[in-house]
């Protein structure tokens, strides 16, 4: 289409595109790239009054200090453990739900069920924390009330070191499974119906069909979603945990982001917390790069 344009015409044709990009470029430059420059304080003995470049450079000292802080390894362990369980649950539960929902014949029923299960995903963790703190309370919460009716002693979900991480994983799955099932439902519709027909003719029941046709058919999507989630391995869920945790569960519930938040905002250790942020970015970058490479190789998936 453009082979015959002269250079000047080409430039004129492209110019409006550059202008269209301009506002976004400026804003991203100021805020996203601007804040990247701010990470230099991770390498300084940072004194806020001296501005960004006025403090002494101390190389990787802050990083060394970070990893000798008490509890840092426990915090990292908690983060990875909680993330891994969330990832596992975040694939298995939506898949199971999608498979079961798929068996429902009535379109109306399907749509209604979907509308309901999407709801938790759209609510903020502030609201959900308010709700869960209430319903999980050992004294007056409804969950323990119901447990009591079947003879189980009250469980202090948010205050017990054993139960807290479990509660975090379960409530996160509760929040996201509905929405995450969308991808799998879409993948289900892309499976060739003739496969089912031939299996039917061969005498395979629904269960066998699920095992041998459906699951392999969405396997690539499952792997894809898992791989894409790897970049989040050090996240753990700040919004959720910050609003639900307390010092009594730090041992199993404190994650990197909450630890760094207290360090940076409550104890004004700006350089240390920026160093932690950099570390986290670096690790995430490695994971994301690896996972996108894997996704491309395995499933031919590219984001752009």
């Amino acid at each position: 289409m453009n082979k015959n344009l002269r250079r000047k015409d080409r430039l004129l044709r492209e110019l409006p595109l550059h202008f269209m990009l301009l506002p976004a470029i400026i804003l991203v430059a100021v805020y996203s790239y601007g804040s990247m420059i701010g990470t230099v304080i991770a390498f300084q003995k940072f004194i806020p009054a001296n501005g960004l470049f006025g403090s002494d450079w101390i190389g990787f000292s802050n990083f060394r200090n970070l990893f000798t802080m008490p509890n840092i390894w426990q915090v990292l362990r908690n983060t990875v453990a909680i993330s891994l369980f969330k990832m596992a649950g975040g694939v298995i539960v939506p898949v199971v739900f999608a498979l079961l929902l798929n068996e429902v014949a009535s379109r109306f029923a399907k749509r209604s069920l979907q509308t309901i299960v999407y709801l938790p995903n759209f609510l903020s963790w502030v609201i959900l924390a308010g709700i869960f703190t209430d319903i999980l309370s050992p004294g007056t919460g409804i969950i323990n009330m119901l447990l009591g009716k079947i003879g189980i002693q009250p469980i202090f979900f948010l205050g017990s070191q054993t139960w807290f991480p479990i509660t975090m994983v379960l409530t996160d799955i509760w929040k996201t499974f509905g929405f995450n099932s969308v991808i799998y439902l879409a993948a289900l519709t892309s499976i060739d119906p003739s496969l089912y027909e031939s299996a039917e003719i061969d005498g395979a029941g629904r269960w066998k069909q699920t095992l041998h046709i459906t699951l392999p058919g969405i396997l690539s999507t499952m792997v894809l979603m898992t791989v894409l989630a790897m970049g989040n391995i050090l996240n753990g869920g700040f919004d959720q945990i910050y609003n639900l945790y307390s010092p009594s569960v730090y041992a199993t519930g404190d994650i990197l982001d909450t630890f760094v938040f207290r360090l940076g905002i409550q104890n004004a250790q700006y350089a240390l917390s920026t160093a932690a942020g950099l570390f986290k970015s670096a690790v995430s970058l490695i994971f994301i790069a690896a996972s996108y490479w894997l996704a491309d190789k395995f499933a031919g998936y590219r984001i752009f």
Binding site: P70, T133, F156, G159, S246, P247, S248, V249, R262, L263
Partner: protein
């Protein structure tokens, strides 16, 4: 960036205001660098910032008890509050002792009062530092804390303390107080101002402070901040007329401190209008408290002036029912002859129980960096022991961890910064 106030202060301050410098040299030490004054201290009553045991009058009466003087008696009282239906409503909806999730804070429901009974002068989870046997040490790593923690642990195990305390901060405790499920808590001196005013205003319930119960065989100690640290106000160096600040200070002093006019006192101090302007000077209690207590004994406040006279009016007014404004109950709780001020002055001070924090303006590097995480260690270690997550002996490991995580370094550094005299 901050103005040097020395000259302006010398030139314009009233003699009465200048007198503060003579009477409270430590407070001014904190704002003076190289001989120059850079800020003005508010003169907080540090020695008043100590824990007390607060108990509802009606629960005490309904269970036929008297105020506990020993820790054992306090535990027994907690038992009665939990089990004997002190609010008389037929439901088992009351707890023995209210506890805050921030157990080592200086706040509603913290257990610093309990620790104090065993000689631990604790104040916040990162204070205080003091000398013991000639060496600087930190309150929360003392061996005696185990005894205090054992008491709390047993109380928790027996169900006298709400198991949900680990997620309840002071505001939620306030709600529990307002709804009538708590009747005994350790708290600071302002209890009648807040939160016990809630139940006074809604149900005419009086809650009053008592000296912290003692533990047999231990000398009790309460920890306070050093007078050199406290709130101050400063003037920006770009202020064109800093003498105006001093003049406002003078005006404040004349209106509130020096005059006998009760209305001014109420307007500017009691009703807290002073908070509208950052330029003011607090009124240290030692200046007027002795006069006030003498007046109580004599039974007449006629010879008093200034602050003392106003306080006398409030206390008497509350006791005979003639003072009905909201400030009456608040003031009474602090100023009556067995109020928090009296307890701090007569009991704590006279018993030599008050221990002041050595750490003031020179802060060790390592402490600046690690005090947050060290403080969290105190909170989690103590909580773990109280709720039974860890055995009592895990305390020893906690002390080792605290020292290893920068605590020992801090103590060493402090020996250097604050040499013994």
């Amino acid at each position: 960036m901050i103005a040097n106030l020395t000259d302006v202060f010398e030139a314009y301050a009233l003699d009465g205001v200048k007198e503060y410098r003579e009477k409270f040299p430590e407070s001014f030490e904190g704002v003076t660098f190289d001989g120059k004054m850079y800020a003005f201290p508010y003169m907080n009553d540090n020695f008043h910032q100590t824990p007390f045991l607060w108990i509802r009058d009606d629960w005490l009466e309904n269970t036929g008890s008297k105020a506990p003087e020993t820790v054992e008696e306090m535990v027994e009282l907690a038992r009665m509050f939990k089990n004997s239906d002190p609010d008389g409503n037929g439901r088992s909806d009351t707890w023995g002792l209210g506890v805050n999730k921030n157990i080592a804070a200086s706040d509603l429901g913290s257990i610093t009062g309990l620790l104090s009974a065993y000689g631990i002068p604790g104040r916040q989870n990162n204070a205080i530092f003091y000398r013991r046997n000639g060496k600087i040490t930190f309150a929360y790593i003392q061996e005696e804390a185990k005894a205090a923690l054992a008491v709390a642990r047993d109380m928790y195990a027996e169900g006298l303390i709400d198991p949900e305390f680990t997620v309840k901060d002071a505001s939620i405790l306030e709600q529990d107080i307002a709804s009538g499920s708590l009747g005994m808590l350790y708290h600071m001196n302002w209890g009648t101002w807040y939160p016990f005013n809630l139940i006074y205003e809604s149900d005419d319930v009086i809650t009053r402070p008592y000296p912290i119960p003692k533990a047999e065989g231990y000398e009790y100690k309460v920890g306070i901040e050093d007078s050199r640290t406290g709130d101050v106000f400063m003037v920006s160096s770009s202020c064109k007329n800093p003498e105006a600040v001093i003049k406002i200070l003078n005006l404040y002093y004349n209106t509130v401190e020096a005059s006998s006019d009760a209305d001014s006192f109420i307007t500017y101090w009691s009703d807290e209008q002073y908070r509208l302007c950052p330029i003011y000077v607090g009124i240290p209690t030692e200046l007027y408290a002795p006069d006030l207590f003498e007046a109580f004994e004599k039974g007449s406040g006629d010879e008093l002036s200034g602050t003392a006279k106003s306080y006398y009016g409030y206390v008497k007014g509350f006791e005979d029912g003639s003072a009905t404004d909201a400030n009456a109950y608040g003031t009474w709780g602090q100023m009556f002859d067995r109020g928090s001020m009296a307890i701090a002055l007569k009991d704590y001070r006279n018993d030599n129980a008050i221990v002041s924090n050595i750490l003031s303006n020179d802060i060790p590097e390592i402490w600046l960096q690690n005090n947050g995480t060290l403080g969290t260690m105190v909170d989690t270690a103590y909580t773990d022991i109280i709720v039974g997550n860890k055995p009592l002996d895990s305390f020893d490991q906690f002390v080792k961890d605290w020292l290893a995580a920068g605590g020992q370094q801090t103590l060493d550094e402090m020996e250097r910064l604050y040499p013994a005299e």
